[in-house]
Amino acid sequence: MEEILRFTDVGYIYHTKRGETVAIKGLSFSVEKGEFVAIIGPSGCGKTTLLSLAAGLLAPSEGEVTRSGRCGYMLQKDELFPWRTIEKNILLPLEIKGKLQQEQKEHACSLAEKYGLSDYLQSYPSELSGGMRQRAALIRTLAADPDVLLLDEPFSALDYQTRLNVTKDVAHIIRSEQKTALLITHDISEAISLADRVLVLSSRPARVTHAHSLQFEEPDPLKRREKGEFSEWFELLWRELNG
């Protein structure tokens, strides 16, 4: 298996006027091509920092982060630009890369079409529902054809009903595009319903305390929730997270 992302003994310290915060220390893990990895951890433990390191937005204070290929970032809120149409939003990463060629553009638009956004391409984000907006945000992330998706609690701003649907949606899209994904969440059931592998982080400074491969045959997150293993995993992870 090809390795896309590797953290080796990574540490990260925030420096401010008031002092320093050790956000991450001795963190090691790797993500392989095609995997869906979820990372759960208590709030404030350094999850967002971890993703920034993975995306190369921060340089580690110690240790090493290796990454092969490009990252696509998706945040808690959709962060669509309100002054751009959905189409223009989706094409943003291509614009930034300066390669808004016809071929790329068509790829992005075909993604939008495939995943039910074609009616909304000329609409502004304010005209879409929360779930639709998050879907548009995902298509935007996919438009640049990233090798690994970094998802920072992308569903936590949605209400429960929408959240289940969008989760299912996103899982479906990511799996059918055969993307590698690293999902950060503090929702245990979300992690179990989506991931192939779950890593549990300690409280700050974050390091990996447990790692599990979930052997679900079922890719659909809603159906996973009905399986017997689901609650077993839930109890185990809950104990590890709070233990």
Binding site: A55, L57, Y73, F81, P82, W83, T85, I96, L150
Partner: protein, 273 residues
């Protein structure tokens, strides 16, 4: 935007609502005009029957006559033109320059922290204190007034825009950086468009500032313009002239504000926010 044009057939309730709204707007406008007419009428009446001394408070008819007089001796448009030009040019220069400087300050945090105390002091300084200095440097012509207008508006424009630029959404910045955007792209794709609303409110504030600057400038140095007419009218006790100039000033100040409001409509049209 996708305009979905339905064959519109509203409910009874909505029609009643629309009717009520129209009525409300009508009432507001008639009251507005009514108050104005009432004031003018009362003013005219009280000077006509001698409740108030027209020499001290002037009167609407005398104002109209004065304006007509200015028009006849050909100086009306000269004075209006002078002030308008100073105000508009000062406004444009302070807005453009202020925007540019704010961008520069946004770009470099070091420059920003170095210059911060200077900006604070310049902002606190009452610009009229610079009057004598400006006369010495720029003489008593339009140049001095233009300079006054620019400095009155400039600092306000800088502070207004800088605040908007540095408060650009952190998450959107993060997102752009994760896409590999350089600073120019961050500027053009995010910082400038997301500060559009602030830009417009800055324009509105600066229209006012430009009038303050130009009229203040004319009080201090000028030989022409509406501010000059006001000062001159006061000095020689020609209240009619003073009032006439003030009325004209009101009109043009409102007009300029209205133009900015039109610009706002134009700019905001395509950005459902």
């Amino acid at each position: 935007m996708k305009h979905k044009r339905y064959e519109i057939s509203y409910s009874e309730e909505h029609l009643r609502f629309l009717k009520k709204r129209r009525l409300h707007v009508g009432v507001v406008w008639s009251l507005r005009v009514g108050i104005l007419l009432l004031l003018i009428g009362f003013w005219e009446l009280s000077t006509a029957v001698g409740w108030a001394d027209a020499f001290l408070v002037s009167s609407p008819s005398r104002i109209v006559k004065t304006i007509a007089g200015l028009y006849q001796d050909g100086t009306l448009f000269y004075h209006i033109g002078t002030t308008l030009w100073e105000t508009a040019a000062g406004f444009a220069i302070s807005v453009v320059l202020g925007y540019g400087i704010a961008l520069l300050l946004w770009w470099s945090e070091t420059v920003r922290s170095v210059l911060e105390p200077y900006i604070v002091v310049l902002n606190a300084l009452p610009k009229i204190a610079l009057g004598p200095l400006i006369i010495i440097w720029f003489g008593t012509g339009s140049k001095a007034i233009l300079f006054m207008t620019v400095i009155v508006g400039l600092i306000v424009a800088i502070m207004h825009m800088l605040t908007a630029f540095v408060s650009t959404d952190k998450n959107k910045l993060l997102l752009l950086r994760s896409m590999g955007a350089n600073k120019w792209q961050i500027l053009s794709k995010l910082v400038v468009p997301s500060s559009l609303a602030s830009f417009i409110s800055m324009l509105k504030v600066n229209v006012g500032m430009a009038w303050i600057g130009s009229i203040m400038g004319e009080y201090i140095v000028s030989r022409a313009g509406l501010g000059y007419l006001i000062v001159y009218g006061g000095q020689v006790f020609k209240l009619d002239l003073l009032m006439a100039a003030t009325v004209i000033l009101c009109f043009f100040a409102a007009l300029m504000y209205f133009l900015v409001a039109m610009l706002e409509k134009l700019l905001v049209k395509n950005t459902e926010n």
